[in-house]
C-alpha cells in the first residue's frame, strides 16, 4: 500500500560514454560510492484524443514495442454513486456486466475471452467503474466486440444475479478471516461515517447483499453507464486513427443519457483521538491503521504531499519503515499514504505488528507522525525523496498497463494530459518548509483514528497504558461492538 505515484516516460537518451578501460580489480576504490553521470532526460509520451458524436472521449497512446493493446473504460459509476440503502450496488453491477451480455451467457464470455488470450476485467472503484481489456494486437477486434457486449448489452439474468449474490454472501463471510480487510473496512467507516460515500464498504454488507436484485442493478446501470460519463484510454500497438475506427464501430451507437451528478458529501468533523479496537481472538499480529480524512486529488498541495509521504511512509527508506521494521523489527513493513480521490480521501499509516509489540509499535508510529510536523526535514532526506520520485518516473511508463494506470488517473480527475511534462520541476520545487507546512496542515494527531484489529485479550492492557486516547470497541464494520 505504498502510495501510488505518478511517473514519466522518458526517451532513450544516450549516456555519455563511460570510461571503458577496466581498472585492475585490486585498484577499485570502494571507500565511497561511484559518482553517477547525469540522469537521462525526460520526454513525455504523446497522447492523442478524439471525441465521438455521442460524447465518448477517447485518448490514445502509441507503444509499439510489444504487439499488445490495453483498453480501459472509465465510467462514472463508482461506489460514490451507491444508493444509501444499498452499499455494494456499484461493484455488484460492474461484476454483473460479465455474467451475460448480448447473445452470450456468463460462461461464454469467460470462454471467449480466454480463447482470445484477453484479460477482461470489470469492477468499480470509488470514483469510477472500470472495464478493461489487455489483449494481443491481432485479437483486438474480436476482443473489442466482447468488451462492447459487456459494457453496452449486459442482460443481467435473474439466475446470474442470484448466483453472484450467493457467492458474494460467502465472500463477505470470509472477510472475517482477513484481518487486513477487516481493518480497512472498519477504518473507513470510523473516519468517514456510514453515510459518507467513502465510509461504506465497497462490497456491501450482509444485509445489502441480500437486497440486491435485477431491478436495482438495471436501474443503476441505465442511470450511470453512459458514453457522456465515460472516458476511454487505449494504450499499445495501435494508432489514433485505427483506435478511433475500431471504437466508433462498436461504441458509436451507445446512447447518451443524463446521469445524476456525483455526490458532494461533506466530510464529518473529526473526533478527538481514540483507539478503536476490533477483537480478533488468536491473531498472530495486530493490523494497525492510523489516520484521518486527508485531501482530494485536486489539492494545490499535491506535490508537497507526495514528497512528505515519500519521506514519512512512501518508500522503503521512509521513516515509518525504517523505524518500525529496520530499527525495531516489529513488522515486515510499515507505510503511509494520502489516498487522493474526487472528494478528500483518507490519510492512513499502516502496518501489521507482532501481537506482543502492538503498544510499542504505536508509540513509534505516533513519534514519527508528530516528528514530521515538529521538525523541518533535513536537506539530504528531502533531496533523496525528491530524487526517488522524479528519477523513478520512467519505470512507471515502461509497460502498456503502467502507462494506462498513469493516464487513467489524469482522465479520472480531469487533469491536463500534459500533466507529466511539468511533474519533475514541480517535485523539485518542494522545500523543507513546504513539507513542514503540509505536515502541520494535513496531519492532525489530536484527531487521529487509531484502528487496531488484534487479539484483545493480549493487547488491551498495553493500549490502555499508552494514554493515546480512550479505547472504543468496534466490530469489523466499524460499528459499536456489542
Amino acid at each position: 500500500m505504498i502510495a501510488p505515484r505518478s511517473r514519466l516516460l522518458v526517451t532513450a537518451a544516450l549516456l555519455a560514454a563511460l570510461p571503458s578501460a577496466a581498472l585492475p580489480a585490486q585498484e577499485v576504490d570502494r571507500s565511497h560510492p561511484p559518482t553517477l553521470p547525469p540522469p537521462p532526460t525526460l520526454r513525455v509520451p504523446a497522447v492523442e484524443t478524439a471525441t465521438l458524436p455521442n460524447g465518448l472521449e477517447l485518448a490514445v497512446i502509441e507503444m509499439h514495442k510489444v504487439p499488445v493493446v490495453d483498453v480501459t473504460l472509465l465510467v462514472g459509476a463508482g461506489t460514490v454513486s451507491d444508493p444509501d440503502d444499498l452499499p455494494g450496488l456499484a461493484t455488484f453491477t460492474a461484476n454483473m456486466l460479465q455474467q451475460g451480455a448480448g447473445s452470450r451467457g456468463a460462461l461464454d464470455i469467460a470462454d471467449e475471452a480466454a480463447y482470445l488470450g484477453a484479460s477482461l476485467n470489470t469492477g468499480a472503484g470509488f470514483d469510477a467503474a472500470t472495464a478493461s481489456l489487455h489483449v494481443p494486437k491481432r485479437r483486438l477486434g474480436p476482443a473489442l466486440d466482447l468488451l462492447a457486449d459487456v459494457v453496452l448489452r449486459p442482460t443481467f439474468p435473474d439466475t446470474e444475479i442470484a448466483r453472484q449474490r450467493d457467492l458474494r454472501r460467502a465472500q463477505i463471510l470470509q472477510q472475517r478471516d482477513q484481518p487486513v480487510a477487516m481493518a480497512n473496512v472498519a477504518f473507513a467507516a470510523i473516519v468517514f461515517g456510514a453515510t459518507h460515500p467513502y465510509g461504506r464498504p465497497a462490497s456491501g454488507t450482509e444485509t445489502s447483499t441480500a437486497a440486491l436484485n435485477r431491478d436495482r442493478v438495471l436501474q443503476f446501470y441505465q442511470a450511470y453507464y453512459r458514453p457522456n460519463t465515460t472516458r476511454m484510454l487505449v494504450v499499445g500497438d495501435v494508432t489514433l486513427n485505427e483506435a478511433k475506427r475500431l471504437v466508433a464501430a462498436r461504441f458509436g451507437g451507445w446512447a447518451r443519457g443524463e446521469a445524476p451528478p456525483p455526490p458532494t458529501a461533506s466530510a464529518p468533523a473529526a473526533a478527538a483521538r481514540s483507539i478503536y479496537l476490533v477483537d480478533k481472538p488468536g491473531a498472530a499480529q495486530s493490523v494497525v491503521r492510523i489516520g484521518q480524512i486527508g485531501v482530494s486529488r485536486a489539492t494545490p498541495d499535491f506535490f508537497a504531499l507526495e514528497v512528505l509521504n515519500t519521506i514519512l511512509g512512501g518508500s522503503f527508506t521512509s521513516r515509518l519503515n525504517q523505524n518500525l521494521r529496520e530499527t525495531h523489527g516489529y513488522t515486515y513493513g510499515a507505510n503511509s499514504q494520502f489516498a487522493m480521490r474526487r472528494l478528500a480521501g483518507p490519510f492512513v499509516a499502516s502496518a501489521s505488528i507482532v501481537t506482543a509489540k502492538t503498544d510499542s509499535a504505536l508509540i513509534e508510529f505516533m513519534r514519527e507522525l508528530r516528528r514530521i510536523r515538529d521538525e523541518a526535514v533535513p536537506q539530504a532526506e528531502l533531496a533523496k525523496a525528491k530524487a526517488y520520485i522524479s528519477l523513478g518516473l520512467p519505470a512507471e511508463f515502461e509497460t502498456t498497463q503502467g502507462a494506462a494506470r498513469q493516464f487513467s488517473n489524469l482522465l479520472l480527475y480531469d487533469l491536463p494530459l500534459d500533466y507529466y511534462g511539468t511533474y519533475i520541476p514541480r517535485i523539485n520545487a518542494v522545500t523543507a518548509a513546504d513539507v513542514q507546512r503540509v505536515a502541520r496542515q494535513y496531519l492532525d494527531p489530536d484527531h487521529f483514528a487509531i484502528v487496531v484489529v488484534g487479539d484483545r485479550s493480549k493487547i488491551e492492557a498495553g493500549l490502555q497504558a499508552l494514554h493515546e486516547g480512550p479505547i472504543a470497541y468496534r466490530d469489523m464494520w466499524g460499528q459499536i461492538a456489542p
Binding site: 516516460l9 499488445v68 533523496k384 530524487a387
Partner: protein, 469 residues
Amino acid sequence: MKAAVTAWRSGATAAGIALAVLLLAAVPPTRLAAQALRVPYQTFTLPNGLKVIVHEDHSVPIVTVNTWYHVGSSDERPGRTGFAHLFEHLMFMGSEHVPTGQFDQLLEAAGGDNNGSTTEDRTNYWENGPSSSLELMLYLDSDRMGFLLPEITPPKVDLQRGVVQNERRQSYENQPYGLAQENILQRLYPADHTYHWPVIGSMVDLNAASIEDVQQFSRTYYTPSNATMVVAGDVTLRQVRPLVERYFGGLARGPAVTRTPPPAVGLPADVYATLEDRVQLPRVYDTWHTVKGFAPDDAGLEVLGDILAEGKASRLYKRLVYELQIATQVAAFQDAGRIDGKFEIFATARPGHDLNELARVIDEEVRSLAESGPTPREVERVQNSIEAGFLGRMERVGSFGGKADQLNYYDYLVGTPDYFQRDLDRFRRVRPADVQRLARDYLLRAHRVVLSVVPAGHTELAATEGASR
C-alpha cells in the same frame, strides 16, 4: 521476500520476453502462435566464475541488475529451515564499504528500487533504476557479494530474524489457510527430501540460526562462481563489461557446490489429514507428486491445471462454483521446481457444504478427463491464454518476472537464457490425448495427499477416505 510485494512463485510459466517480435505477413486469423519470441543477449564469464548476461532494450532509459545465487531452501539442513530466506534479508543489511541502511538510501537517492526473493531453488536480487544508476548498482552488489561477512553481527541477525518472523506471521500464520502448504509438503515429501519444508521455515529453526551459520552459508553459496548476473535495459555491452570487471573481477571464486541427489518420492497410499484453522469455510487440498520443471510432462500438466480450473469456463469452476454452487472458488496447477514438482487442486466450500461433496465432484472431473480427454477447443483456449501471458510479460525488463529475471530463470533451469520461444513451444505442442494421459497417469491412478482445512471444532466437515472416492 525482502519487502512486502506480491508473492513470487518460481513457476514454469513466469516469463518476460521482448524485442524482435517477428510477425508473419499472412497470419491465419485463428492462430495466435505465428510469431517468434526472441530476447537477444550477450554473455561473458569472469575468471572467478561469475557469469554475466547482457540484454539491451533501449525503449525506456532504465536499467536493471538481476542476480541469481544458485541456492535456496532446498540447500538448508534440517534444524535450519528458513535460513536461505533469512540470509536474503541479511544481504540488505550493509557490507564492509556500505554501512547499514546505505544500500537502500543510495539507491533511492539515485531513483532506484530493489528487492529480493527466495524459493526452494534459488535466491534472486534486483535493482531497477534510471540508466544513470548502473555503476551504483554494480558497486553495491559487488560489495555484498565480496564483503558481507565483516559487517554481519549478532544484533543484525537478531533484527532480521524478527522481521522474517513477522513475515511468517503476516503471510502465513495470520492468513486463513496460510499453514496448509507446509502441512502438505511434510506429507508429500519424505523427511530427507529437501522440498519437505517450506521456504519460510519454522519459528523454532529461525530462532536457532546463528552467526556461524551465516558465515558458513556465505562461504559456500554466496560466491561469484555460484551466481549469474543479468544486466538489462538501456545499456550496452561495451559499457557494462568494464564496470562488471572493475567491481567483481577481484572477488574470489568459491568452492564448487555439490549436492546429493534427492531421494525418490512416491506415496504408497493416499494420505488424509485435517488441520483446524481460524477460518469460516472449509477447504480441501488434493496434491499429487508429479515431475520437475521442464521435464517432458511438465507443460502438459500446466495445461491440465488450466483446463481444470483456470477461469470460469474451466471444468471445475463450472461444476463446483457455477452449476452446483457448492464452492466459492477452485484452483488447480502444476507447481514445478528445479528438482521436483507437484500438482495441486484446492476448493473452498460454501456455507452449509462439507468437503466430501467437493471432493466427489473433483474426482468426477478428473476421471472424466482421464477417460475422455479435453476437447481440442479447451486445449487451444488454454494455449492462447498462456501465449498471451508470454507476450504480456515481454513488456518489462526488471523486477520479479521481467525479462532479466526470466533470462536468469531459463539459464539456471535449462542452460539457455533466451529460451522464451522454446518454452512457449512446449505448451503449443500439447494435444488433447496428452492431457488425457496425464490426468490418468499422474492423478487418477496415483496416490495423493488430501488435506482438509476446517473451522476449529468442525472436523466433521473434512474429506474422508472412501466417502468420496
